[in-house]
């Protein structure tokens, strides 16, 4: 049997993880347009780490303090809490005495250090954590797929209903505020969707691919020079191709799934970047 025949024969194993990867790729790709244009790529990196820190906290609580958090839903809720609170704080940052990047960088580096420190104290769950951080979409339960799909629908509805408010307040917060729009509210709505999307997709794909999908597909779409509204479906499509293609290639070539997805996302963005460099 060829590797491809093996893959097709194992449909029962990969259909849920592949569906989760595809939805996550589309969701993160589309949200990434705001992340890239608002110049908050580093915020998404910090949120991804904060989400991972939430998972580490639940694993530590279980192993060290014997607090029952075995249920995936409890772990996910803690990760969402870390990410959403972080998103609301980091998303609302306005430069005062220090540039916003200083606070975002601090959040990223401190949460990264805490993840490493927490992971070093884990005994039984250390292996699982590796998959959560670097990506291991091979095994995704159907319940996780349902959560990812629900969050994707929620984000699509919110962004569909409030597209013009999110666009205006993100593009020119100063003017929006001056003409009476509630900029902080719309910033919170935007970063709430990002803060929700990160932990639910990070559980399935891992932190590294999530950060990559929030950056590379949107960058690729924007470098192609499309208009604002077209950038969303194009970035979502690039995210889907990177997620699905990366999943299939990693299976066929027996290489790490998350890293393959990231490499493919970068490869898809490369022609647009080269075209821009040449132009």
């Amino acid at each position: 049997m060829s590797a491809l025949q093996d893959f097709l024969a194992a449909r029962e194993i990969w259909q849920v993880p592949l569906a989760a990867s595809v939805i996550a790729g589309a969701l993160l790709g589309a949200l990434g347009v705001f992340v890239v244009l608002r110049r908050t790529v580093f915020v998404s990196a910090a949120l991804t780490q904060l989400s991972t820190l939430g998972l580490v906290a639940t694993l530590l609580a279980e192993e060290r303090l014997h607090i029952e958090t075995e249920h995936a839903s409890e772990q996910l809720l803690v990760a969402i809490a870390f990410s959403v609170v972080g998103a609301l704080i980091l998303g609302a940052l306005r430069p005062r005495r220090l540039p916003a990047e200083a606070t975002v960088g601090t959040a990223w580096v401190v949460s990264s250090a805490l993840v490493v420190l927490g992971a070093s104290r884990l005994v039984h769950a250390a292996h699982d954590l590796g998959g959560m951080v670097f990506g291991n979409a091979v095994a995704v339960p159907a319940s996780d797929l349902a959560v990812i799909a629900a969050v994707a629908v929620l984000c699509a509805v919110v962004h569909g209903l409030f597209a013009k408010e999110l666009a205006f307040t993100s593009f020119d917060a100063e003017t929006a505020q001056a003409v009476g729009m509630r900029v902080q509210l719309w910033d919170s709505v935007l970063f709430l969707t990002i803060g929700l999307a990160i932990p639910v997709t990070a559980r399935a794909l891992g932190a590294l691919p999530v950060f990559a999908f929030l950056t590379l597909p949107a960058a690729g779409a924007l470098l192609l020079g499309v208009r604002f509204r077209l950038a969303f479906p194009l970035a979502a499509a690039l995210g889907v191709v990177a997620a699905a293609g990366g999943y299939v290639l990693s299976w066929l070539w027996e290489i790490p799934t998350g890293a393959t997805m990231v490499a493919l996302a970068a490869l898809l963005a490369a022609p647009a970047a080269l075209r821009r460099l040449a132009g």
Binding site: L37, V179, L222
Partner: protein, 259 residues
Amino acid sequence: MSGALVRLEGAAIGYGRRPLLEGLDLAVAPGEFLAVVGPNGGGKTTLLRTLLGAHAPVAGRVVRREGLRVGYVPQREHVDTIWPFTAGEVTLMGRVPGLGPWRRPGRADRAEAGRALARVGVEHLAEKRFGELSGGQRQRTLIARALVADPELLALDEPTSGMDPAAELGLMDLLRDLQRNGDLAIVMVSHRLEAVANYARALAFVDKDRALFRVGSLDAMLRPDALGALYGRAVAVREEAGRRLVYPLPSNGNGEELR
């Protein structure tokens, strides 16, 4: 002034609880052209944003006429040009506050955006990317966005900053023309008194470092004593070809100003 669109009453402006300037009284009436002049970092933008309600006053109060329609033109450099919006799409954003959260811009809104672009003379650029426009074209697009909401008060923050003299003159002429047919009030922040001396009807001098806030008619404020208070040195006002020229006088090297 009972018919004022907006007024400050004993206001202290600043950030948080820290006042930059205190005891400010100021009223903007329909049809007014008020230029807020002072050095960079002197508190002009804070004053403007307090008038608009974007900043709460540290003390005193800001009274705005109920339902006041405001158009705002930010400093051009504050608008990020990496966003892939066309000039038409940027202009259309001016309709967003009036639409409310559930309605999308329709055909009528797009027609209004087209008319606003035509009013400032850049309707041919509607499909062009905002980031690819020249500085002057971007400024006109931002003015179109402010006009598309049919404002009673148009507030502009350093609209001529970084412009060459010809473009600056063109923009100031445009603002004067916008006021010709109607009661549009303009409040314009500028660090260049020369730019507004031939257009504004009233001037406010603002400098937080010297606790300076003076407001009055153009003629009253262009007197040597008032200008001296703003610049901290002698200032000349001359008329040439029907235009006022305002410039600080250089010193002779001994701390004495040349006249």
